[in-house]
């Protein structure tokens, strides 16, 4: 890794001429010292907003808090009657994607639990049973548990998964429960969650062993 001293962002020369700007000091003129004009002005400003907002409320001209969120006036969202849609990149609750036959896409490689800074993923790997074409080729998670209470929703697990098996695109935030056990999400629950588009499938184009057009080699059936 070479160091190009001219252009590295941390070794630029000190910029010679910079401009400073003196901030204003308060003026203690009559208007300020007599106190009342400034307070009256403040009250007019706030009461103006109050009456305008009340009028809009009563006449039903309230701004749409989601679409017109940048406009003046009250844009408070009355949750849960109104909801803000979460953005595309929003990191919500996890889900496990599944294959066409309903088994989990996950191959129990432990990448996600290694990458997790909160150490809240617990996986126990299992071998497929004798005779299964996937035996010896990959494993499956016999147990896959995420503690959603411990999770900090950083998204590192999604980034670390080499199979697109875990995703955070459910568009759901962590919901309040009344006991800790309910936050421990097991494999079945995670597999049961769908993405925002309702799909449970994965974008991983990897072929299944046993596919007629499977290009790779596995241990039992070398080409």
């Amino acid at each position: 890794m070479s160091t190009d001293t001219e252009n590295t962002p941390w070794m630029k020369p000190r910029s010679g001429d910079f401009t400073t700007k003196k901030v204003e000091r308060p003026t203690r003129d009559f208007e300020v010292q007599s106190y009342l004009p400034a307070v009256t002005k403040g009250l007019v400003q706030t009461m103006g907003a109050f009456f305008k907002n009340t009028k809009e409320m009563i006449l039903g001209q309230k701004k749409d808090p989601v679409i017109e969120s940048l406009s003046w006036g009250i844009t408070t969202i009355s949750y849960p009657e109104e909801k803000r849609p979460y953005t595309d990149r929003f990191r919500g609750l996890h889900r496990l994607t599944i294959r066409d036959d309903g088994s989990p896409r996950c191959v129990a490689c432990l990448c996600c639990s290694t990458a997790c800074p909160a150490q809240c993923i617990h996986i126990e790997a299992g071998e497929y049973s004798e005779g299964d074409p996937r035996r010896g080729y990959e494993r499956y998670p016999a147990k896959f548990v995420i503690d959603e209470l411990r999770c900090i929703f950083c998204g590192f697990c999604v980034e670390a998964c080499p199979c697109d098996a875990i995703r955070m695109d459910t568009g759901l935030h962590a919901v309040p429960y009344d006991s800790r056990e309910q936050f421990i999400y097991g494999k079945d629950l995670l597999m049961g969650m769908t993405g925002r588009d309702g799909s449970r499938l994965t974008e991983n184009p990897r072929h299944e062993p046993g596919d007629p057009d499977h290009p790779g080699i596995d241990r039992e059936r070398a080409h």
Binding site: K22, R25, C154
Partner: protein, 404 residues
């Protein structure tokens, strides 16, 4: 208890002359960031003060030394939790300095843009909270409303409102969204409008001015001796800004002024922050104009950044590279580095030591408000109890960063 007026001589009616001890915090509405101030009072005047920090100590440095380099991001997010993006940027630059790599131009602009947005958030929160503590609740709500707009941008870009975890060594987690520039351009004028409107409520109000002007004064020399940086130092009249003194990223390409104060009192600190928001908006404008619309975001080095997902799914090279980085972490060459950037409160430094493995050997942070908070004691001694609130508020002490 006996009623006092019975059988007492006139002379015995005097109040006891012992100094009175008063505890402020650790959980006090004005002590944001859980800090405790024990003050000794004579009447309402403070004769002695003892500022005790450490109530938010979370062992952040040790936590970073447990995982690999990229796993530090969630921890640095939580340092200065009002401007997490600036910490992300600072930490990325520190590790990249050690690696000796430079991120592509587009990422540099992207980092500047996100960093300046975070700086605006930081100053809005500080000034808003300060106004609220002095009884002006309306400006606080307006400031928070403006901050909300910026957090919406962050949610759009990073997927989380506060704890972004968005930086990565050698780039960013994701490229800017297609509408990033438009959203920022639409939002900034609104934020500035809110700022001007709130100023209209505050700057002519005598109550507000009386409590800020000439309270908590710090001279240039004292500020420098104490190691102050950031808006608090600039309010004393020293034009030191890391973005100008040691430009990093692409800050040397932008036109902006350094706001400086004259007296170093609470009012100057308030005004410096107000002006810095405007300057940040100026930087953002130029930054968005200059930022390329396409180009790589991550550096092209398979030892540092994760390969694209399609490669991981379909090629063995990609999969191996992916596993190496996830399982072992980025191998940063052995050595040590000190890297500094302008955080929300001043110079945010990271001192990192690597032993050549994928795990940081030592992570040390130089939080700007640690140096700033140590001045609080001498600022409030001799002042009155109500002066603590605006003085402490204008220092913008952030517990998560101070108790590193």
């Amino acid at each position: 208890m006996e009623p006092l007026d019975q059988d007492l001589e006139e002379g015995e009616l005097e109040m006891p002359a012992d100094p009175m001890m008063l505890n402020m915090g650790p959980s006090h509405p004005a002590m944001h960031g859980t800090v405790r101030i024990v003050v000794e009072l004579s009447g309402e005047t403070i004769t002695k003060a003892d500022v005790q920090i450490g109530y938010l100590h979370r062992g952040f440095e040790k936590m970073c030394e447990r995982g690999n380099w990229n796993q530090c991001y969630p921890c640095v997010d939580r340092l200065n939790y009002v401007s997490p993006m600036l910490n992300n940027v600072g930490f990325s630059l520190a590790v990249e300095k050690m690696l000796g790599v430079t991120v592509p131009e587009r990422t540099q602009y992207y980092r500047v843009a996100l960093g300046e947005l975070a700086r605006i958030c930081d100053h809005l929160t500080c000034n808003g909270a300060m106004a609220m503590e002095l009884g002006a609740f309306t400006p606080f709500l307006w400031y928070v409303r403006a901050r909300e707009m910026i957090w919406d941008i962050f949610e759009e870009e990073t997927g989380a409102r506060v704890t972004h975890s968005f930086g990565r060594v050698g780039g960013m987690a994701k490229p800017p969204t297609a509408y990033f520039k438009d959203v920022v351009r639409a939002t900034i004028p609104r934020v500035l409008a809110v700022l001007t409107e709130s100023e209209g409520l505050l700057l002519k109000n005598r109550i507000f001015l009386d409590r800020l002007e000439n309270v908590g004064k710090v001279s240039k020399e004292v500020a420098l001796d104490l190691g102050w940086t950031g808006p608090t130092l600039r309010s004393t009249g020293v034009p030191y800004d890391v973005r100008r003194a040691h430009p990093y990223l692409v800050y040397d390409r932008f036109e902006f002024d350094i706001p400086v104060g004259t007296t170093g009192d609470n009012f100057d600190r308030f005004m410096c922050r107000q002006e810095e928001i405007r300057q940040s908006a100026r930087i953002l404008e130029q930054c968005l104009d200059q930022m390329p619309d396409d180009g790589p975001i991550n550096i092209d080095d398979p030892r540092v950044v994760l390969p694209p997902k399609e490669e991981v799914y379909s090629t063995i090279e990609g999969t191996i590279q992916h596993f190496k980085i996830v399982m072992e972490g980025i191998k940063v060459p052995a050595g040590e580095v000190y890297s500094y950037t302008e955080g929300g409160n001043g110079e945010l430094g990271f001192y990192l030591v690597s032993d050549g493995s994928g795990t940081p050997h030592r992570v040390r942070i130089r939080p700007p408000c640690f140096a700033i908070t140590q001045a609080l004691e001498r600022m409030i001694v001799g002042a009155m109890i109500p002066d603590i609130v605006p003085t402490f508020g204008s220092l913008n002490m952030i517990g998560g960063e101070c108790d590193h």
